[in-house]
Structure formats: C-alpha cells, structure tokens
C-alpha cells in the first residue's frame, strides 16, 4: 500500500482510466498547460496531449454543455470546475441537460459524465469562493453526488464515477488536497452509494462526510476520553444515500448527530435526519442533533470564518445534548 496525497490519488484515478479507455478525456480551466489550478492534473497534458487534456476559456456554462453533448454521443468526459463555486454559472447545463436528458428522452440517451473539482470553506476565500453545493445537487433526481474524504476513496470513487453511465457530481475539498493516506495497490475501485464506518462505537452515531470527517474523528477521540463511545460514519456518497448503514448504526446506538460544512437549512443533515426519522423513529432516545456551518454568508475574516465551521467543541457539545449530559 502506497501513502499518497488526496490530489495525487485523484490524478492516479484519471490517469489510469484514461489509459484504460480512450473515450475518457479531461476538460476545464487551466487543466492542461498550467497542470491544474490545484495541481490535480499535474503531468496529464504531457502524458496524453492536447486531444485528451483540454484547456478551456473561462466559460463554465459552455464547456459543461460541450461535455454533456459529447457524453450523449458516447464519450466519457471529466469536466473540472476550478472550484464548484463556479459551477453555479453552469447549473442550467448540469440540472436541465445532464440530469434530465435520460428521462426527458424516454431513456434514449445516457450522459456518462463526471463534474469534479474543489469545494468548501478553504480559508479566507469569502462568500463567492466558499460554496458547498452537495445539498443543491443531491436535490436533483438523475444526479449522483460523491464527496470523498480519504485518499483511497478519492481514487476509488473517482474511478467508479468515470465508469458510471450516469452524470456524477464529484465534490472534492480544497483543504484535503494535501492530506496523505494509504491507497490499496492495483485497480482500486470503491462502489458509489456505500457509506463507511470510520470508527466503530456504541453510544452515539456521528454521520458526516468530506473534510468534516476529520473534525468528527477528532471529536470522537475527545468523547472517548470522556467515556463516550462514538461511531463515525463517512457517507462518501450523498445521493443515493446508504440508508441501511445509517439505520443499522442508529438501531445500535439510539442517538445520532449529523455533521456537515453546509448551511443548516435544507442541508444534507435535514434530509439524512428525515430519512432516519421515517424509518426508525421509535429507536431514537433523543432528537437527531445537527452541527452545520452557521447560517450566514462566508466572511473573509479568518477568525469569523473559523467560528462558523463545525468544530470539535461544537460536535462534543451536541453529543452531550443528545445524550442528556
């Protein structure tokens, strides 16, 4: 097992899939000659050339749509948004064309495309460049939404996303690009739609994803010192939700907290909580707790920004609340 950074894991996934399948290509702003704004596509232009690693002008709506059109006729594009914040400019393409095409055509067309890129509150980027859009995209029937936390998942899930016959929104976290982790050797694939128990526990279930997994694992460590055994689940895929894993854990611990970097209202946590309530309300010993980013636009000021994020302290406090301690 090699230990590599999240960004290199993503690079390996794309490189291996492009080696395997000529229909796969990468398109986006600065992905080729500049080697990627976050160096995720480092070396790929040299390896594959300009036919398959394509720099675009700053035209997100245009190149998102070009990708969808190419996917409709058999190619398997990877479209990089320098950050998912910029996908807002292309949202009509993603929602109306990528997500709806198969249904609207009565099943005549598939759209095997991956939209991927960085996301999240990465530090002093302010309101326009800090968006977390997984809840937006997970709202849409027809889209698959993936949010890897570890290097192994970054690679394995991206390879699965590229092989998927459906449009996948693959949301990376800017603060994870440099994080290192072990990756299994060989053709490492992680199935879409499966959550992972990152830490088993008995007293409370902590459900989270992406960068918040790190904070939540630290909170679980702090809770262990207080004699509280927390089970930490990384959703990995936001849509479709791996409800079975969540239900099994809820039935075991009877207490749940959902942690996310989104705003709370209409966030991922609202839907996760709703689905658990609908299935196993009677198993719960307390209302489901939620820890989300505070409900304000993201400020530039470093301390202000940090104050809104789910922190170890906020998670621990919320766990105490659902345990009536």
């Amino acid at each position: 097992m090699a230990v590599i950074a999240y960004r290199d894991a993503l690079n390996q996934a794309m490189t291996e899939e492009m080696d395997r399948d000529d229909r796969v290509f990468l398109m986006g702003e600065e992905v080729a000659e500049y080697n990627g704004a976050y160096k995720v596509s480092q070396g790929m232009f040299d390896r594959f050339g300009g036919r398959r690693v394509i720099d675009t002008p700053i035209s997100e709506e245009g190149f998102a749509g070009i990708g969808i059109g190419a996917a409709m006729v058999g190619l398997r594009p990877i479209i990089e948004f320098m950050t998912f914040s910029f996908s807002l400019v292309a949202i009509d393409q993603i929602v109306n064309n990528a997500a709806n095409m198969r249904f609207m055509s009565g099943g005549q067309f598939a759209v095997p495309i991956v939209f991927r890129g960085s996301s999240g509150m990465a530090g002093c980027l302010a309101a326009t460049h800090s968006h977390r859009l997984e809840a937006w995209y997970a709202h849409i029937p027809g889209l698959t939404v993936v949010t890897p936390y570890s290097s192994a998942d970054a690679k394995g899930l991206l390879k699965s996303a590229i092989r998927s016959d459906d449009p996948v929104i693959f949301i990376e976290h800017e603060n994870l690009y440099g994080e290192k982790g072990e990756i299994p050797d060989g053709d490492h694939l992680v199935p879409i739609g499966k959550a992972e128990i990152k830490r088993p526990g008995e007293d409370v279930t902590l459900i989270t994803y992406s960068r918040s997994v790190k904070t939540t694992l630290a909170a679980a460590e702090a809770l262990a010192e207080q004699g509280i055994s927390a089970e930490v689940i990384d959703l990995r895929t936001i849509r479709p939700l791996d409800l079975d894993t969540l239900i099994t854990s809820t039935v075991k611990t009877h207490r749940v907290v959902v942690i996310e970097e989104n705003w709370p209202y209409c966030g991922v946590g609202s839907s996760v909580a709703d689905r658990i309530y609908q299935r196993v309300f009677d198993e719960l010993d307390a209302p489901i707790g939620r820890v989300a980013t505070l409900d304000a636009p993201i400020p530039y000021n470093r301390a202000l920004e940090a104050s809104m994020l789910p922190s170890v302290e906020r998670i621990v406090a919320k766990v105490h609340e659902v345990m009536y301690r």
């Binding site: 290509f25 036919r51 675009t56 002008p57 035209s59 709506e61 245009g62 190149f63 998102a64 749509g65 070009i66 990708g67 969808i68 059109g69 190419a70 996917a71 409709m72 006729v73 058999g74 190619l75 009509d92 393409q93 109306n96 064309n97 095409m101 198969r102 249904f103 609207m104 055509s105 009565g106 099943g107 005549q108 067309f109 598939a110 095997p112 997970a138 029937p141 027809g142 698959t144 998927s164 016959d165 459906d166 739609g193 849509r239 479709p240 939700l241 839907s271 689905r275």
Partner: protein, 336 residues
C-alpha cells in the same frame, strides 16, 4: 419577405424536390391538426408550431447525411419530421402516450429520436447550443466527419452560453453548423427591442472568426445550398459556420399567444407568400409535378396525419410505473 426565387439551375433532383415538398406539407398538416387537438385539450403544456418556417428545416436537414446530428430548441416538430421521425411517434408524444418518441415524458418541446440522429428539442432558450458543440467535439475526437446542425431562434442570440460556445467551437474548429431561425420576434419582443445590433449575420459570425451567411429560408433550395457549403467546410475541418436564416412564423409564439404585437395585415401578407404554395408553383413550372400529383400528395399527407392521430389516441397513457424509469442507467433508488 420576398417570394421564393429558386435558382434556374436547381441543386436538387426531381425526386428529392418532390420529397421535400411532401415533407413540408406533412409538417404543416401536423401543426394544423396539433392546434386543433390543443384546443380540444388533447395536447397539454406549451406547444410551439412551426407553420411558415418549414423550408428552413426541410431544406437544410435534407442535404445532410443520415449519420449527422440534428438538434434544435422547443419549436421542434418540424425538425423532427424533416429528420424522418414517424409522425405517429410525434403525435403520441404530444398526447402524453407511452408510444411517443420520448415515452410521454418530454411532450411537444422535448421530441427525441436517437435512431434518426435527432438529438432533441430543448426548451431552455440557448441551452442546447453547447450540446451541439459537444456532439461536434465527439465527432472530431473520434476522427469522424459527422457534422452537427443546431437550430435556435433569434431570442437565443442573447443567451450567454451561445457566445461562450461560438468562441470555443470556432477556436477548436468543431464540425458544427449554427442556424439562427430569425423570425424577427422573440416571443413578443421584436428584434430591435432585444438586439443592439440588428444584423445578426454580423453579430454571430465575424466576431467569432467564422463565416456568417444570410439566407432567405423561404427559398428552400437556397437554404439547401448554404447548408451544403457549411457541411462541406465542417467535414473538411474548416470549422463552424453561422447561418442567419430569415423566416416568418404564421402562428403565435405558442398556442396561448394572442399575437398583439403584429397586425392582421402583416400576417395576411406573409401568408400570401406561403413558402409551400410557392414551392408547389415552382415545381409545377419546372414540370416536376402536376395538379394530379399535388392532389395525391395532399391526400396522402392528410391520411398519414389522421392515422397518426388515431394511433396516438388509441395508445395507452404512460403508466405510473414509468415515473421511476429512465432516470439513471444504474438501478434508481428514489430518495423518499
């Protein structure tokens, strides 16, 4: 709009010309009967008719290859029929039947026929313009010489995605033909109230480094000619062409449009220049059809549309189970 001035030396054979005339008549009949069915509430939603614009779609699609891609906006019945879609499938779609070209899930604005290379009617104005470039991109990527022809209205000239795409399509020399169907009115907004530059040919071509060509699409053979040249350029790797095809719609923007933005006089004048009647006269002049042939075609077309209506009416509704079908290729789990 001037009367049809087909060239003395036609670029089509007699058979092809008669076929085009028949297609135009089929589209017109399809639209006329659709309007009646809409008024009888057999067709729902938004319904945009192509009457008056027939030679534009028929003359351009008529010179393309079977493996080329055709994509258009929401006024899509004419292009689908010109591409050879069975009118039964179109009529059934309008009535929301499972036998429809999109299984009753798309309706009037979202006709699709993958087998014929008809890549859809698309209902967000301008949203399909990047898709067309994507299909052309795929053709080039795979070393093919298939072209994509993409139609949109003059209203779409003001959507940002068009300008982004024109820039990339031209820079990358994609084999795509962009055709603005300039009927001079974007829903109810005249061109002079929506475009700072009234010369759309100049606005869409030169600024993006591609040829801009103006054509009076009432002249079906002129439309065919400019399309042929655009397709030749595209296949030769010379990149996209922008065609401004002047046209006129006889109906409102959609079925619910009272057309207060134009006078009866203007409409009557346009209808006197009906391009289908004009082409009938030209083919008679050439001795390519006679009255008897015209009557026969008229009767055939009527019968074909009536059969399509019967087929649509007798087809089953799209069943409730279909709601969860065709959403993803992978098994679909509703998040409920």
């Amino acid at each position: 709009m001037s009367q049809v001035q087909a060239e003395s030396k036609p670029i089509v054979s007699r058979n092809q010309a008669v076929g085009w005339l028949r297609q135009m008549m089929l589209i017109r009949r399809f639209e006329e009967r659709s309007a009646m069915l809409y008024q009888n509430q057999k067709i729902g939603g938004f319904c945009h008719l192509y009457s008056g614009q027939e030679p534009l779609a028929v003359g351009s699609i008529g010179v393309l290859r079977e493996d080329d891609y055709v994509i258009t906006a929401y006024r899509d019945h004419g292009h689908a029929i010109a591409r050879g879609m069975d009118v039964k499938l179109g009529m059934a779609e309008m009535m929301g039947k499972v036998t429809g070209c999109s299984k009753g899930k798309g309706g009037s604005m979202h006709f699709f026929d993958a087998e014929k290379g008809f890549m859809g009617g698309h209902a967000i104005v301008g949203s399909h313009i990047p898709l067309a470039a994507g299909m052309a991109f795929a053709s080039k990527y795979q070393g093919q010489d298939r072209v994509c022809i993409c139609y949109f209205g003059d209203g779409a000239m003001n959507q940002g995605g068009l300008h982004e795409t024109f820039n990339m399509a031209s820079m990358w020399k994609l084999p795509v033909i962009y055709v603005v169907e300039n009927n001079l009115i974007s829903m109810g907004t005249q061109l002079e109230r929506s475009s700072a530059v009234l010369d759309l040919t100049a606005r869409g071509g030169a600024p993006y480094g591609m040829p801009g060509v103006l054509v009076d699409s009432h002249d079906i053979e002129a439309m065919a000619k400019v399309t042929l040249e655009a397709a030749r350029r595209a296949r030769a790797g010379e990149g996209p062409t922008f065609i401004e095809a002047r046209t006129y719609r006889f109906r409102g923007h959609s079925m619910s449009d009272p057309m207060k933005y134009r006078t009866k006089d203007e409409l009557e004048k346009a209808k006197k220049n009906d391009p289908i009647i004009a082409y009938q006269a030209i083919l008679m002049d050439r001795g390519w059809i006679d009255e008897a042939t015209l009557h026969r075609i008229t009767d055939e077309v009527k019968q074909e549309i009536e059969e399509a209506i019967t087929f649509a009416e007798e087809s089953p509704e799209t069943p409730f189970e279909a709601l969860y079908e065709d959403i993803t290729v992978a098994p679909y789990t509703p998040q409920e």
